[in-house]
């Protein structure tokens, strides 16, 4: 196991980059029955990263420390880039200790040095200060072709150097793999601390690497099921703050929120339609939990399923025409697909007796889900054409899979000992890592859409 960000980073980081979003400001909320609050940035729930399974077929790359002509920058940009690329599972960065020399520009590179280290790609760069801004100049080089693939200067405020580094990682990743990078995205997750009746629940958002965490909500009643709006500006979630479950939508920039449903019984599992105008959800207002779709503007509800069993955990197909959901109409939980306009449900999963909480890949061709097999509850994927199901995680009690917007990774909840942590695995299952929190339990990760 290699620890990437072994040190606990406890500083208060502020972001000012234009493409980043300011989160909710301290908006006190009046509620019934339980206390909760919405507050501004805190850095107390950052996650660190341990690689638990590396990818032996990862592409070797060397990310040379950037020459720091700006002087004393608070972030090691090249290290952030290297960590991003390693965490993707697609790359294996060369350790710095193995580098003979540390060029900062393609002009100074002797390609033979890097060939002898088996690096296929090389990233060099430098930083300089200009008018209160930091200029980050980087180049991506093809070692065997001895050619420059990318060269760019990025301007960032000194408080958003991690954002600049994630941007650079996105460019490098896309140049080499042809897949859009998702390093500048964010994750939402739920925390709990304490035991029994003294448990405190929190809803956070953080950068995709677990850093820069910001609190969205805390409560002494459970919080569940965070889901990003397709524009990345809002979260839907379930809160028990009134001592009954209700679905809320909260604007992350302003902290403003609205209660969408508080019907008798379950109000759970909100999922945004791809156009952001509707929410699918599970409600038990008519008896058993059924799938409904709410038009957010009009609050009109349309019932989608109709059975005497449990229907929950809806998710949309990327084209918005159908929903997948978990149903136990066959006896145990299995995943079904049904048109949003009704009609018959088609059963998708047949392998094993427990398949639940499905999510579709961005191209709609692969179903990611929780499957119970010989290894307990694991993240699995099923090719929808062939119907073949394979487990991709190697974790304890995996739950709540959420797919990166570029489809390359799945983040999920798991356990380390008896503590809830987040795990992530590449969509092919080759590389896996963990994002433990410094304290308390973390669960229900939700990967944001692309934010830039």
């Amino acid at each position: 196991m290699r620890a990437l960000n072994a040190s606990w980073w406890a500083g208060t980081e502020r972001r000012s980059g234009g493409h980043r979003r300011a989160l909710c400001k301290g908006l006190a909320s009046v509620v019934t029955g339980a206390m909760l609050w919405l507050v501004g940035p805190v850095a107390s729930a950052d996650l660190t990263i341990d690689i638990t399974r590396g990818n032996e077929r990862a592409t070797p790359i060397a990310v040379v420390p950037f020459a720091d002509q700006a002087g004393g920058l608070p972030e090691d940009i090249a290290q952030v880039v290297s960590d991003d690329l390693e965490r993707s599972g697609y790359f294996e960065p060369l350790p710095r200790s193995a580098m003979f020399n540390q060029p900062s520009s393609s002009d100074d590179v002797t390609y033979g040095d890097w060939r002898s280290l088996d690096s296929r790609y090389l990233v060099v760069g430098s930083t300089s200060q200009e008018g209160g801004q930091v200029k980050v100049r980087y180049e991506l080089l093809d070692v065997s072709g001895e050619s420059r693939l990318l060269g760019e200067t990025v301007t960032a405020s000194s408080s958003d150097l991690r954002g600049a580094a994630h941007y650079i990682s996105d460019q490098i990743f896309e140049e080499i793999t042809g897949i859009r990078g998702a390093f500048s995205t964010r994750i939402a997750y739920v925390t709990s601390q304490g035991v029994g009746d003294n448990t405190q629940y929190g809803l956070y958002v953080a950068d995709a690497d677990g850093r820069n965490s910001q609190q969205v909500l805390t409560s002494d009643e459970p919080i569940m099921s965070p889901a990003w709006s397709p524009d990345g500006g809002k979260l839907a979630y379930v809160s028990f703050e009134t001592e009954r479950p209700a679905i809320y939508v909260q604007n992350l920039a302003t902290g403003q929120r609205a209660k969408l449903t508080d019907f008798e019984g379950l109000n759970s599992a909100p999922s945004w339609s791809p156009d952001g105008r509707r929410l699918a959800m599970a409600l038990s207002r008519d008896g058993q939990p059924e799938i409904y779709v709410m038009d957010i503007g009009s609050r009109n509800l349309q019932r989608v399923t109709n059975s005497s069993s449990i229907e929950t955990e809806p998710a949309w197909s990327p084209d918005g025409s159908s929903l997948i959901f978990t149903s136990d109409r066959s006896g145990g939980p299995q995943i079904y697909r049904q048109s949003v306009n009704g009609g018959n449900a088609e059963r998708l999963t047949y392998t094993g007796s427990y398949n639940a909480r499905g999510r579709l890949s961005p191209d709609g061709k692969t179903l990611f889900l929780i499957h119970r097999g010989n290894n307990g509850y694991q993240v699995a994927k099923q090719d929808l054409d062939s119907g073949r199901l394979v487990e991709i995680s190697d974790a304890q009690q995996a739950e709540s899979p959420s797919i990166a917007p570029n489809g390359t990774m799945v983040i999920f909840a798991t356990q380390q000992g008896s503590t809830g942590v987040l795990g992530a695995v590449t969509a092919d299952g080759r590389a896996q890592f963990r994002l433990p929190a410094a304290q308390g339990d973390v669960r229900e990760p939700s990967w944001s859409p692309f934010l830039n």
Binding site: D220, L266, T326, A356
Partner: protein
């Protein structure tokens, strides 16, 4: 009456009247929050807070002296087998006692809180917890309890009574709590 256990020492209180004809003002209040409420389906406390103030709210009531002929049964939690919503024979007497209490006290009401162990997915477990509490609700109804006295709220695996990923913890967490 039942004092909600997570009304902690810091609690700022709200009051409520659970039983018709029984008004009470419970708990303590501090200057920054207050609450009041009345109803038949549990209490409502209202509080505002800002991060770090350490305020929490809860509520408690003392309904003593107004009950006619019965006290709320002492045992308020029953446990379930794995993947089952069947009321185990050894807990039938507990449910019967609550049925009797509710029948004799038509103004009393109870929230049946359904819980599951941690295995499986959270939202599906939320549905299973509701099914578990629903099975108790149906049993109470068969015993003649007025449905309007009973509400079901499922917490799924979100409020475990015991921590740990072992059979003992799982067994303690598969439960329905009678919350008055």
């Amino acid at each position: 009456m039942f004092l909600k256990p997570y009304a902690r020492s810091l609690a700022i209180a709200a009051s409520l009247a659970v039983l018709a004809g029984c008004s009470s003002t419970g708990g303590t209040q501090d200057g920054s929050a207050a609450g009041s409420g009345s109803g038949t389906m549990g209490g409502s406390g209202v509080g505002t807070g800002t991060a770090g103030s350490g305020q929490v709210s809860g509520y408690g009531t003392d309904g003593s002296g107004q009950m006619s002929d019965a006290r709320i049964p002492e045992v308020r939690t029953i446990y379930f087998n794995y993947d089952s919503d069947a009321i185990r024979p050894e807990f039938e007497s507990v449910v019967n006692a609550h049925a009797q209490y509710l029948s004799r006290n038509p103004n009393a009401s109870v929230v049946l809180q359904g819980h599951t162990d941690e295995r499986g997915t959270r939202e599906y477990n939320l549905a299973l917890g509701e099914r578990r509490a629903g099975s108790v609700e149906r049993y109470l109804r068969l015993q003649g309890v007025n449905p309007s006295q009973v509400e079901v709220v499922s917490y799924g695996e979100e409020r475990p009574a015991a921590r740990g990923s072992n059979e003992d913890a799982f067994a303690q967490n598969r439960r329905v709590v009678f919350a008055y």
